[in-house]
Assembly symmetry: C2
Homo-oligomer: 372 residues x 2
């Protein structure tokens, strides 16, 4: 079941679009109204590069929502469930955004660029409208915009070597989610230690959309001695490592507590944030569902095309699969699912409704593979 | 330049997904986080059906943002630039939504279902967050949700015959954008006179996502005597008829006045709405750009893959193409563009930077083809 993706002016092209076409991109998705590569024709080779050497990803679709102005810090604190008052310029924080019902509506990284300027580096939903609507309703003195900023990810065990060759040895001292504004041969950018994999990695936030091919080519050249090649956010690696995929894992109504992300939400913090009341109530009652791992019986599955239904052994609906894939490192079928809490204990036996028929499954802990 | 679209759980499937696969869908896009068919392998046949007989489109991705509760009408009036106080239940209105800077952020149809319940039937941006953010900030007594409602469009000169065969002769009395809640063999739905073409047309808002294939098959059967076949929103017909494509025509920062949509914005209305101040200022100063048609010289073009640059004859940037296609009915290249006002007079000669080199072009009025 394969379909062509329509290429037209309704969806934006990344600054790296031409470079990825030259590199042989074969598969794409749409993310934040932008084409995003998902494959270059050899999935296993791309996976091996990511976990064994280093891969270059066009993740320009990870757009920034910039909040700038005198009320910027106040507005950010209304949205982010963590105390941002002690964040320093150059720091980043994982900042889960919830609506008034507690539903998770995005899981961005928050970057502090100045005391009065922040970026949410967002997953695939229009947070510009959430942030901008609240600012408009309250008449806050901020500008909410999407700047010309397009991340390029360098991920894999050799990523620090590539990035040090490009920028210098100081990059080894960057802490996770920390960033520094710099340049590369005149290309303005921010270098951050981050990326949507459980491997070592950096992201280069390109700040001039006309220089995409220049940047791609420079990184590719620097990476050749280290085994670099094109790649994309990898569904098998992210499942093995239990990275959250907003949309797949969260739609339509999951909250951060049932997703197991309570450590990133400070419900006892003094400043209120949107969603705090609802999440406090959910915490008191206990989440109705839990995000868990599943081992699914052989034979090896195709990756899941959609949210398959999970049943208990009596045939009652127990939850939904977020993602199911054959693990390359474990050589068995693994899945992530949101399961009704009474059925989410480790060792519980369940049944997954795959397109090729029901399969036995067993609840297990996450992640499947600890980072190395 | 063709790429596969990744099919996975991160993007939702329409209730009509299986039916469109059975009908031979070949091309897809993503719209409101949902796969949406864009072609069935024979573009010209699909176009002919739309303008000569009747076509069936999966437009489930045109999602609804429901606003329900005591403050619903108040909130809608804060957003919509038209007086909604006289709307009756069963009426629809084109309701352009702007942000505080006047930027158009969606161009939905507003449906009034009850005095305290409305739907925005939206284009491809997350209006749930715009509406929900404002409601949260102001503490309004409303619920903002996305209900289980998935439109199926029947478009083309024979559409009224098909719909009358299914529902009865009363459908001929429905005014444009009016709707009625009804059912078809137990399938709950709303029938509306609407659709994203300049042909006659209806949309069936399916209200039970488990019944997509049932509904698709029933409409297809009823349509066979009238020449129905599968299709999709058609880039050539929409360009000929000058329908706005939110995203293609509007990104990143266009406002409704420069898009020529001033007739749908009541700046002299008593209740304020978000964006009114900015748009009033833009009206006073005169829009800096204008949406116009362009005839582009032969030979026949491929449809535009992106927003091509337009220059004046001195080589200066004059604007961007929204869409350029070979018109099937006019047998010449046509385009829609947003052009700096001084260069937007009918008859102005411009140059379009196509991927195959510059082409001469001439500004003309819109639409290229009048309905009817």
């Amino acid at each position: 079941m394969t379909f062509r993706i329509t290429i037209g002016p309704r969806i934006r092209k990344s600054p790296y679009f031409d470079a990825t076409v030259a590199a042989g991109v074969s598969d794409m998705t749409v993310y934040n109204h932008m084409y995003m590569p998902t494959g270059f024709g050899d999935f296993e080779a791309e996976y091996r590069r990511l976990v064994e050497t280093v891969a270059l990803w066009d993740v320009a679709a990870e757009r920034q929502v910039q909040i700038a102005g005198p009320d910027a810090a106040r507005l950010v604190q209304m949205l982010a469930p963590r105390d941002i008052s002690k964040m320093r310029v150059g720091q980043g924080r994982y900042a889960l955004l919830s609506d008034v019902t507690g539903k998770l509506i995005n899981d961005p990284v928050l970057l502090k660029l100045a005391d009065d300027r922040f970026w949410f580096s967002i997953a695939d939903s229009d947070m510009e409208y959430w942030v901008g609507g609240i600012a408009a309703a309250l008449g806050l003195d901020v500008e909410v915009t999407e700047p010309d900023v397009s991340p390029l990810a360098i991920q894999g065990p050799n990523a620090p070597l590539v990035v040090a060759d490009l920028f210098g040895e100081w990059v080894h001292d960057l802490k996770y989610f920390a960033f520094r504004e710099t340049e590369l041969d005149g290309i303005p950018l921010i270098l951050a230690r981050s990326g949507w994999s459980k491997q070592a990695g950096f992201e280069i936030y390109l700040m001039d959309g006309t220089r995409g091919t220049d940047l791609w080519d420079r990184v590719m050249s620097a990476g050749l001695p280290h085994g670099i090649g094109p790649g994309a956010p990898n569904v098998v690696e992210r499942t093995e490592g239990d990275l959250l995929s907003w949309g797949a894992d969260t739609r339509p109504d999951a909250n951060a507590l049932e997703l197991g992300l309570g450590d990133f939400i400070n419900l006892d913090m003094a400043p209120d944030f949107i969603g705090k009341d609802a999440l406090t109530k959910i915490r008191a009652e206990g989440p109705k569902r839990r995000r868990v791992g599943l081992f699914i019986e052989p034979p090896i599955l195709e990756p899941s095309d959609h949210n398959w239904l999970v049943r208990d052994r009596g045939g009652n609906a127990a939850g939904l699969i977020s993602v199911a894939v054959p693990s390359i490192r474990l050589q068995r079928n693994i899945a992530i699912a949101l399961i009704d809490s009474p059925l989410a204990e480790i060792g519980t036996h369940l049944v997954v409704e795959t397109p090729s028929g029901p399969r036995q499954a067993e609840v297990t802990s996450l992640p499947f593979i600890q980072p190395g």
